[in-house]
Amino acid sequence: MPTETTTAPATAPTPRVTRRRGPAAAVLIAETRLFLREPGNLFWIFAFPSVLLVILGFIPAFKEAQDDLGGRRVIDLYVPISILLAMITAAVQAMPPVLTAYRERGILRRMFVTPVRPSALLSAQILLHGAACLASALLVTAVGRIAYGVALPEQLPGYLLALLLAVAAALTLGSMICAVSRTAKAATAFGTGAYLVMMFSAGVWLPVQAMPDALRRIVEITPFGAASQALQQAASGSWPGWIHLGILALWTVVLGIAAARLFRWQ
């Protein structure tokens, strides 16, 4: 609708020109702002895993080398575990209620009637939560290194590969929770249930490596049990077992397909 003439005399003060961004970039920028406006989520995803590591380091026994851990210390194990905790918090606890609310409150429908697909909104959220996981991983690694002298991962490419697969598995699990939750409340409930199970399997309470054999074999089948094993192996210098990486990839594919099929826009 004509609201103002767009041509102005050359002498007139230049009107402020809106910088044109691509639609996907505009969505990502807006969602990033919104993401940063959730101090609770930021704390639990970004700060809490590092805080946990610092607290655990106050326990003297955790800083002593243990023979049954191959000469490593408990605190060494808790660096990858804290990273997994960040992923679980971001993808399973924080993300599903956000996306489910976007559907429940008609935000996706509103976007559907613009030239941009609502999937841009979902992708932006998934990307942001993934990025927050990786930022938290970096912080945990730095804190472990500086505060407790935890060695950096010896098999770095293997470690990064396991890390990325774990993030992907976590995010698809979170997406799956969105897909099966009708309401944001349901997503919070599902998320919290999954959160506790995933924390256990990631080894937050008891490192997977310290679990009894029978339990460990079961936990290794879960995405975070597998991730925990893969990260520990890479941290101590060997290439992560293909079986663990394969389990992670399989979970990602299966959950991703299921979430995409089950997800409803409205």
């Binding site: 807006a30 008609g106 509103r110």
Partner: protein, 305 residues
């Protein structure tokens, strides 16, 4: 020229025809109303126009395009304000306007738009903190921001106070005066009568009438209302002759002040006057009025008040 054409659209949910063969066409530059009781299928019908729902049968065209198959092109031509949709709670008005402007290839400048909608002093307010009226005005802005040819407004003034409602009506007229076609869903009679060039009345999934507001009133049975107090009580045979006059739909018995009400048509008036003269009765407090769109609506949709 028709910019929206809806032909024989049908939509069934759980075995029930929510929309049952709806057809209408909206000409460029008009304000076209879809009026009907709650649950009549109004929203489902416009959701088919917006491409949000796929009709089970029938066709929908917006500027000749299919809103489902050509969804992308239709979204550039059609701005929508949806019933019961929200924005991200912590998104500010400015951010919402900037975001939605960036989604369109050739948006209008959002600043004058925000100014016209009285949102300029709310630019830094988050969506969740806006009042109902401010949210509605923001949604109108978002519907217009892509410089559309058509806007679909669904229950726009529901929940607004009378003053905000009147302001919104003025705005809708301005939108139309700017050359945009408006498809307006409402259940407010006054709103439809004031704004719409033409109205489709939808009831139980069907178009039961399609006309100008004045035309709808004429279509309703008993659209001319004659009320009078006879100078002497009318006898049974008098009343029978009154009821038998051309076009009479009903005669209401005298009220406490002795006034009768006759629902008829234009044709009723002259024979009515002759009959009274013949009976030697004078009509006191005689009033001849047209029924309101309200009553025409109730008549057309077969609803009790």
């Amino acid at each position: 020229m028709a910019i929206i054409e809806v032909t024989g659209v049908r939509k069934t949910y759980a075995g029930r025809d929510v929309v049952d063969g709806v057809s209408f066409s909206v000409d460029e530059g008009e304000i076209f109303g879809i009026l009907g009781p709650n649950g009549a299928g109004k929203t489902t019908t416009v959701e088919c126009v917006e491409g949000l729902r796929i009709p089970d049968a029938g066709t929908v065209r917006v500027a000749g395009l299919d809103p489902v198959a050509d969804h992308d092109r239709v979204t550039r031509l059609l701005g929508a304000q949806l019933q019961e949709s929200e924005l991200q709670a912590k998104l500010t008005v400015r951010e919402a306007l900037e975001l939605y402007a960036a989604l369109y290839p050739a948006p209008v400048d959002w600043r004058p738009l925000a100014d016209r909608l009285g949102l300029t002093d709310r630019l830094s307010t988050r969506f969740a903190k806006l009042s109902g009226g401010q949210k509605q005005r923001l949604f109108i802005a978002l519907a217009l921001i892509g410089d559309p040819k058509v806007v679909v407004l669904d229950e726009l003034t529901t929940g607004l106070d009378p003053r905000a409602r009147r302001d919104t009506w003025k705005l809708i007229e301005e939108i139309r005066d700017g050359g945009v076609t408006v498809l307006l869903v409402t259940h407010f009679m006054e709103e439809a009568q004031r704004l719409c060039d033409r109205i489709a009345v939808i009831d139980r999934g069907k178009v039961v009438a399609l006309d100008t507001p004045a035309g709808l009133i004429r279509q309703a049975t008993g659209s001319t209302v004659i009320s009078f107090a006879p100078s002497r009580p009318l006898t049974g045979p008098d009343l029978a002759r009154l009821t038998a006059l051309p076009g009479v739909a009903s005669v209401t018995p005298p009220d406490r002040e002795g006034a009768l009400t006759v629902h008829g048509t234009d044709e009723t008036v002259t024979p009515f006057v002759s009959l009274l003269a013949g009976l030697g009765v004078t009509a006191r407090r005689l009033r001849i009025t047209e029924t309101s769109l309200d009553e025409a609506f109730l008549d057309l949709t077969g609803q009790d008040a």
